[in-house]
Amino acid sequence: MIAYLFIFLGLVFMFFGTLGIIRFPDIYTRLQASSKCDAAGAVALLIGLMMREGLNSFSLRILIILIFLLLTNPVATHAIARSAAIRGIKPWVKKKNVKGE
């Protein structure tokens, strides 16, 4: 039953990551939401699936996929952010209220 708890946690992380992709205003903020969704959601869901499968060779293969995702997702996120920063994309700032300042 604890396997389904991990799977539910992974699905919740996936849903909120997608919500961040749709609602956030800028490239860098969207990248932050996407990175958390990839890392935490994928790791929780794969750990849940490994617990449901039990200890055998297929569970070891799922562990190899998990380690690969955990190594490559931050690298891909960093590559996208570096590419956008080199091309001069400015980070989003909130507009100042002229009357209040």
Partner: protein
Amino acid sequence: MTAATIIITVLGVTASLALYRVIFGPTSWDRLIAVNLISSKVIMIMVAAAVFFERRIYLDVALVYAIIGFVSIIAISKFLEGEDR
């Protein structure tokens, strides 16, 4: 409603929601972020199908899909970076 149906339905619906950012994204990097997210979700769907439906070959397909997705994301981001190097 079994557990496999719920998991695959939730992952598919969230991947379809991320497709909005692929179509209407203002810049190319937004589209790249959303494609990365959809690729990760497809890997999750393949692993869930391999565990719940007893199709063990999907694990190998998921691993190869992860490798090709990572290489393509790195290549496209280096391509968008500019013409110098």
